[in-house]
Amino acid sequence: MTNERHRFTRDDNLYEDLTVGETIVHPRGRTVSDEHMFWTNVVLNTAQLHFNQKMCDDSPGTTFNGRRVVYGGIVFAFVAGLASEETEENALAQLSYDEGRHLNPVFAGDTLFAESTILSKSEDDPRLAALAKPRQAGVVKILLRGKNQRGEIVLEITRELAVLKREFRP
């Protein structure tokens, strides 16, 4: 046994490690299965074009040619998850998302990938003062993009994270 404290995050994704202008190509892809219907229902999303194949069959003109489209909020969460180890693992908080667009539909069987472009960094953002550890983090603005197996962008959105500085990593 040791009394040495265990650290639960990597040491290569702190505020100092995120470089403005750089695009991070995240390491993993993720194939979406019919699991998306479970999450759609769990969050009480009642839009049937996500989970009623008979309705889609009967209404090809008002659905995605009769295919059950994955609810965008779950595409968003899956893409953010793929990007998380390089961007969010040492974040104190998610401050904002903006300019978010679902540019192409996602269906079960598609494989998602993520890229993050570092747009800007700030150590004196006033929102940092409201956090539990105000001088321990900086704000990083990121363009998050999700792509499918054909390289088509399915989601793009900007996000601001409050990311810990290296010396304050717990």
Binding site: R28, V43, Q48, G73, F76, E88, Q94, S96
Partner: protein
Amino acid sequence: MAQANPEPPGPRRTVERGRYYEDFKVGDLYRHHWGRTVEAAESQLFATATMNAAPLYFNKLHAQALGHAQVPVHPLLVMNVVFGLTVEDLSEQALAHLGYWNMTFPRFVYPGDTLISSSEVLDKRESGSKPDRGIVHVRTTGVNQRGEKVCVYERKILVKKRANYGGA
């Protein structure tokens, strides 16, 4: 040869949910009726099932080291729960959800909190290319059981016109 199913003799009332383009009025406020308590197990499941690598949302020791008494609920689960509560009023009949703007998370959500959503119609316009549809712009606000804002965002929705797609 299959027999037709015998139906009960009384009148039938076929229910349809969701609004069409004509049903939205700029300035209307919808108080979405359900509300939803978020529990620890589903919060942990969401973070891990979406491959979210931030231990803040699945490791109590790490959350405590960052100043939290409990493991907070991932903001994108908060957003999805707040969003889900709005669908019956906003987008159950929609053709597509187009995107998100000005999304913020004014407070953390913790297991046991109950989220309640409301939405205001900010704008609506007809599609420039297809006369059978229009775009509705809303602002949704999610609050906790104390009425404190936990997630606010704007959203644009592509919706059918009742004139073209019927409905009662």
